[in-house]
Symmetry: C2
Subunit: 302 residues, 2 copies
């Protein structure tokens, strides 16, 4: 990782951390149990990739990173809720996440379901607060909410999770049939929220339509590159390093690496990063961090 990116991730990550801590303080009429359960997963060592991308997008469009801090926090809340629900016994049934017991293992299934629900709901409140504090015009303020909702919902992340569940029931590993399904899953299960987050950062910065379009395209390419690289690392990397217990389901999971082989997956990821760079062409040096982040997507596979 380039030193300038490492510094950026550190400072921006620390800002996100402080914002999340402040948002997760005690609030009136809120049971302490649910605050603890939400905090447990929110502060379980996430890389804060989505928040940092959103802040970098805002900066790329000429705003201060801090203007998008609450939107960045909202994205991390949505990402965290999706992990809590994904780990439930009815879903992936995981006992560990990043080396720590999963939310339902600590707080029980009922509270884990509600902690996810609470984080998702709080995310929309927080994004709306951001728009109000930044005095965004009505159209931008509502676009912010709608872009996040579309990225997180059944046309986005939730849709990807459904497709992922359904793919597990398919009988044969036929690349011709599974290829498009896998692309749908990757683009939606993880890509949609990453893309929405980048666009959300641009919206807070009141970007032009052309800038928003370019950043969406960048987000789509980078999100997919990250996912394919995760697939490769799952196959070739050290599972313990990723802090995940390889559950039965994960071990039989449809991935780029398992479907096309590691070499073809690497080629695809490299092509996506090249695409991502092209989409940033309309930006000047302000896009330096987004360029480094694109390179970092595949750099982890070494």
């Amino acid at each position: 990782m380039k030193p300038q990116l490492a510094r950026y991730l550190k400072t921006r990550g620390a800002q996100v951390e402080r914002t999340l801590e402040s948002l997760l303080r005690r609030r009136a009429e809120q049971p302490e149990t649910i605050r603890k359960a939400m905090s447990y997963s929110l502060f379980a060592g996430g890389k804060r990739l989505r928040p940092v991308l959103a802040m970098a997008a805002a900066e790329c469009c000429g705003s201060k990173a801090s203007s998008a801090l609450k939107t960045a926090a909202a994205l991390e809340m949505i990402h965290t809720y999706s992990l809590i629900h994904d780990d439930l016994p009815a879903m992936d049934d995981d006992d560990l996440r990043r080396g720590k017991p999963t939310n339902h293992k600590v707080f029980g299934e009922a509270i884990a379901v509600l902690a996810g629900d609470g984080l998702l709901t709080y995310a929309f409140e927080t994004a709306a607060d951001n728009a109000a504090e930044e005095k965004l015009p009505a159209k931008s303020a509502l676009d912010l909410v709608r872009v996040i909702a579309k990225g997180a919902g059944t046309q986005g992340m939730v849709g990807g999770q459904v497709a992922d569940l359904e793919a597990e029931n398919w009988p044969a590993r036929c690349a011709r049939r599974l290829g498009p399904a896998l692309e749908y899953i990757h683009l939606h299960k993880t890509g949609a929220l990453i893309t929405a987050g980048i666009e959300a950062g641009a919206i807070v910065a009141q970007a032009t339509p052309a800038q928003r379009k370019a950043l969406r395209a960048y987000g789509r390419a980078v999100g997919l590159a990250f996912q394919i690289t995760d697939d490769i690392l799952d196959v070739v990397g050290d599972k313990k390093k990723l802090g995940k217990k390889g559950s039965d389901r994960q071990n039989h999971k449809l991935t780029y690496a398992s479907l096309y082989g590691v070499s073809a997956a690497r080629k695809k990821a490299r092509a996506l990063v090249a695409q991502a760079h092209k989409h940033l062409a309309i930006f000047g040096p302000q896009a330096a961090i987004l360029r480094d982040l694109a390179d970092y997507a595949i750099e982890r596979d070494k």
Copy 2:
């Protein structure tokens, strides 16, 4: 029920139904399974109380009911998501809801969790669409999102569900200790979303701060009156008529009727309806339907 209220519920209910049907049509990039699962519970015979209250509040503040239709639909989506998650084996473990198999019994637990997540997310998208179509000023548009999020979140409905789960573990039925907890549960688990919905209707109508405040207070009183009456009906009413399987948990549930007795519960509900009427005093004849709805809250107990 007064004939004018019956007519109102019928026509407004039909409008809500058509709006929900149109919102639940196929959308691009959305797996058909999740659309079916969300529709199944959304069209399982709900009374559409929250949407109708929101529309009545908008009318009471001088707007057309139709201007608040999407917000009304959003409230029903949130209510439905909460029922789907509440019925899960990890929560109330109910097999039937309104006489029909619960969502997870038909679609499986994983899809039921995701159907709830999808509906909650879609609700925020839909409310934001409403604000955009009505060209609300930024402040009102964001208030709409924030009021709904607060009513649905950990300071509202989710908080009430958490408190409800925790109350089940308490050892003794001591009214002095359980009374405040029960009031918190009722005000939050069901009351908060009803109140938020009424305020949301007022926001779409661009109500004055005084009108919003009065309608919030009205909503709080009416929501609690509905809940206490539900408690009474649970004890004295015909359970089959309500279409619920009395699960073990429900049978041991903390309710106004079980804690204070049916007679004291009735007195409390009547007092709340009187309060609700007082809060409507600043409105003229435009609040007629809201007055009828307040009366209806306790009228069902006959």
